[in-house]
Symmetry: D2
Subunit: 402 residues, 4 copies
């Protein structure tokens, strides 16, 4: 077992909530995929301010220690790589400390809570000397990657229209209590949350956007009850005596955009889409075909192209399988039709990140999104918000300060 003798890369995860444990799982599973000569991974530490979360995650996912202060991770010289999976407002401070300590950093999206912090992180990246990345995992979704491939190889011809809708229901219940996510300026609501994936996915598939316009934002549920104790996301509470506070940002956001390629884009996102837990739907229409994908049926795409016999054309339901990116040896059952889960996207991301750290180039996966990419996404979201503020006017994206 040759690689066992290589020096392992030591990994830590800061944050042990749902997304944090998904990172923890990814680092644990990364060695089970592909054949690309990576060094082994040492699962070193998990940090969470809430000790039971940290301990439970470390035990479940086989990490050596659990800590409650992220600074213990930054100060541990044995650690090489760190995932940051905590609230956006903490990203900058932690990332800067980790970079300073020489760690490679994989930070969850959105990159920061403010444009200023995101800009600072993108600046820091330039000088870092370590690998830095923003966690846009949808780039590793087999279907998204396939759609991007169908566009880049010209299979669909020239794209004329891209339509994407990311509709979620986590805020659909008016009794879902007030939380930090319902505060902050217009653009940090549905747009800032699910819209960030929408924007990154659009550019992954169809290339850079050059302008946005026609943005509209609306707050459907204007106030929410304040919970007295701890309430988990999406859960309603007893509102008998509840105080209500104003919701400050967008429940629904929409915009039109243009791509550098000349294609037109239509976008909408929502956190109040009744009955849709997590529904990202994408349509790509080109001069030689079209393709579509729905995250809620992530094991398939639909494609229509010139291959159909005369009189028998129509969109094919293609099962995601070994011919898709990120599927070969992507799991221990690499055949079509066994299903796929979003969790695996994190493993592929971890894989690409490790390749970047180890300097693997032969057969390497596309690199992770950078901090600059994360900053760009926030600038685009901000441009959408500015378009909305001016009644939908066009905002140019060609001179973004990046």
């Amino acid at each position: 077992m040759s690689t066992s003798t290589a020096t392992p890369l030591s990994v830590a995860v800061i944050g042990a909530g749902m997304a944090g444990t998904t990172h923890a799982n990814a680092w644990r599973q990364v060695g089970t995929v592909y054949d690309l000569g990576l060094p082994p991974v040492r699962l070193a530490a998990i940090a969470d301010a809430y000790e039971p979360f940290a301990t439970d995650a470390a035990e479940r996912y086989g990490y050596e220690k659990a800590v409650t202060d992220w600074r213990d991770i930054a100060d541990d010289p044995s650690i090489d790589i760190v995932s940051i999976v905590v609230g956006n407002a903490l990203h900058r401070e932690i990332a800067e400390a980790l970079i300073k300590a020489g760690k490679h950093v994989l930070c969850e999206k959105p990159l920061a809570d403010t444009l200023e912090s995101a800009r600072a992180m993108a600046e820091a990246e330039k000088q870092a000397g370590v690998v830095t990345a923003t966690g846009f995992t949808f780039r590793r979704n087999a279907s998204v990657a396939k759609l991007a491939e169908l566009v880049s190889t010209g299979h669909l011809g020239e794209v004329n229209h891209f339509d994407a809708r990311y509709w979620c229901d986590y805020g659909a219940d008016p009794q879902t209590p007030m939380a930090w996510r319902y505060k902050g300026p217009m653009g940090s609501g549905a747009l800032g949350d699910v819209g960030s994936h929408l924007i990154d996915t659009a550019e992954t598939i169809c290339g850079p956007l050059v302008s946005v316009s026609g943005a509209a934002m609306m707050t459907s549920i204007k106030e929410r009850p304040v919970a007295k104790g701890h309430v988990t996301r999406g859960t309603a509470l007893d509102t008998a005596d509840a105080v209500y506070e104003e919701v400050e940002n967008d429940d629904v956001a929409t915009f039109t955009a243009r791509f550098a390629s000349g294609a037109v884009g239509t976008f909408s996102c929502s956190r109040v889409a009744w009955g849709l837990p997590n529904s990202l739907m994408v349509d790509v229409l080109g001069s030689k075909g079209r393709a579509s994908w729905d995250l809620a049926r992530c094991g398939e795409i639909k494609i229509d192209d010139v291959a159909s016999p005369a009189g028998l054309g129509g969109a094919r339901r293609v099962l995601v399988g070994p011919d898709f990116p990120y599927y070969a040896r992507g799991s221990s059952m690499a055949v079509a039709g066994v299903g796929l889960s979003q969790i695996e996207q994190f493993t592929y991301q971890a894989h690409a990140f490790l390749q970047q750290v180890a300097g693997v180039t032969e057969g390497a996966l596309p690199p992770c999104a950078t901090f600059a990419d994360g900053y760009r996404e926030m600038l685009i979201a901000d441009a959408v918000a500015r378009s909305a503020a001016s009644g939908g006017a066009e905002v140019d994206l060609t001179d973004l300060p990046i």
Copy 2:
């Protein structure tokens, strides 16, 4: 057979193309639906400049005579009701002549070729003393009407987002030859053609729009070959020696809108949507549920609401059936699951028009769209085009000159 003794209403159709024969069929079939005490219909005449079309249609659909000059219809004092189903540029002249002759007029959409003509027709309507209508048949689609009902009765709660996409492929082939439809200003292309249905359908379901913004239009196929002889819509031609002319208007058009209700709307339409002959897809998202419909599966809608048992929620596939508007006695097989066709929408429209002419009020269908409605739709399309011309700026719709 009591109604046989009533004085029949005499009907004529001007135009015997595909849509014209659909009108011819509608007047023939209208007596087979519902139980509303209409006078009988006399199928009097069909006009088409191309004599074989006129003759064939008259014979197939049982009309008494075929003529080649529409003025013969206007001059025939025995005719009460006339469908106008010819090129938009002829609508105004014919409609004005018919109104002058005291005929009731059902005119196909879009109402005219220019705003000026449409305005004139809407003005004429005010003085007419006859029934005048614009042929927005989608209002009679059982699913569209059901969605409107679900909104107006509050079943879906307050609508926060309406998303509609009308994607067609009749221009998707670059070899589809140049035609009148590819000429004219931006806004008279995909927007003017299929967008008109989109706008009327949106307002039918969710009520009036108050602004549009973020409009984008693009011409994907920039020139088309000129055919030497007669080529039918959608057919490619031998382009060996063809001359190419510039396409002047939009292949794809998108826009954002706001409804008076506060809901946000996202819209797109295309005539170059590869492989989609006629795909109108609608999603309505409200505070108590959501519903969607796809014209290509016109026998069903999807609806999600509070009725689901805990843990077993999801969109129901509801088959269009007797509980839907326009389905009871809508055909000789009024049970769910036997299928529906667009053709029937024309029959329901004819039914409503006859009720208006006959002054039936008890149990009457919603009246037809007026000329004013047709003019309004054109004004909105024009507003979209103006938004596009200014890079997506918002255009207010609350002071439309109507």
Copy 3:
């Protein structure tokens, strides 16, 4: 208008219930389809024992007279063609009288209430000298006809498996009252009713069956309340004081079969399939592809074949359109994606019948199912019932007495 001068064929319909009016509509609409030089149709008479039904149908569908005794139809020398659309138990008597009177006869399925009567009708057919037909309209369904074409042309290769499921819910409610359909021997329930379409559809697509086996029948709802007054099909009643009677025949019937081609068939039918008003689903699996169809989505078929590019294979959703049988000029809007209804199948059937009567051969539609075909279908259903009675034993079909 040349055909107007031809001697018209005079048509009558016996029975003015739902199916009867569908026949009435078909004869009225038949002239609007295709270009095959038929003589014109005179709508002569409608008969129904219940006078208001007869009168209403005659008026709606434009028939000259309404009568309450079918013998008036038989005795009217001006009538050429008659549809029989009444209870099975009356078919034989009426058909024999009509044939004797020299009428052409189109009789609804199942052909008769007993094998003996069906055999007698098939015998009478041999001597008749008129056109006789059984109303298996599914043969005129565009999708069924397309599937048959895909098999007969070899597009799907050799069929190895045919699977069909006809699941209906008209008896699913235990409070749906007792009716004639719930009486009679095993085999005359779900099998006799919807199973007849299943069998005819199977043979239409894949050719003759040579044996059945493994039949199982079960009665799920063992007794039903007796209604005091008139109750329409599918309606529950107030059962406060109801008397219950035993259900005598099958709610669910299943069987396995072999085709002469060597293919295996699996079949099931049900009248207690919760929530499925009329669901006929067909899968055809061959050595070069597969195709499927669901009546509840009758505007499309699914097909998978060798045409897909590598790595992008899957079933195409093909919209029923002009390339399908029975779609060209099948309506006044002969484009794909406008929807289809079962009602049109009756019109196509009427068209084929008229061609047979008029002796049209050039470009003729496939002729209607004969009385012999109707008898054969009943013999197969009887074979299924006999298989069930013997615990599923194989019953040979190669020596049917026909």
Copy 4:
């Protein structure tokens, strides 16, 4: 971290092919799910006769050693639990040796290559004093388990009809080379392979079968080319000079069955179903609702029940989520709509097996299928084959020798 101090259970896997590595992954991941106080798992060894497979799997999945002889596993006193994931013909010998050595044994399905061997294993199980199990993982599929729950809780009322179709294409290409799977008696082909899952899934959902009948088997591709070298499953080869050998068993198998509950079952399975890599479709129809599931869309089920408002009924598409069995903490992202994969079923199975070994009863998962269950499934498959051999006659299952 309290559980770390517990004595770990040491696990080995015999067989490192696709299914073997899936077992290896399951034991590795089992600790990441649920909260049930299991002892930790030590990943001890992987065996495969082909050394590179053994070494690669051990390294990827973190097992301490790789061996080429399964006897090294049996002889290792430190090992507690062993998965057997090799050819059926080896199951008995290995299982008997492992049981003798005091190991707990999880054996892949089908349990053995012959009824005699399966019977012997079931006998051995009775005396074993260790936990023994057959790997019917579909019982751990969230949708299958949900359907079983819907039946057992009466949510669907009394089931009248169960229909299941397991259609695969691994043998659809006539050039797929001869392999051991195409040899052996009728019943060991499609029926023995995918049919075993069909039978176990049926009994999991609807309870025991009491008879089968109407079985039909057919061999569609009668001979296959013999490959000269090593060819992987599903791959065609160059047949220029190939020798062909006869296929001895079934490509397609169908049967009818009766459940103890009175329900009727229709079943079919195929290994030549064009274009369907792994398609298991299940419909359950009851007196109060129906539910269906398609493995190819394993993230959802369809359900129709009495919950729908009047006139708006239809099957709901329910996303698999936290309210389904095996989903809570089933992964690090336990929300609906993130996708699911078959791989996870193996982890759940491992979890249940560990609970059985550790004697966990509080909050325990349903135990694994036993050897007796595996033997029963083979007896039922044999009964189907005997029914087929006698032309479809009924075979009683109430006196199976078990």
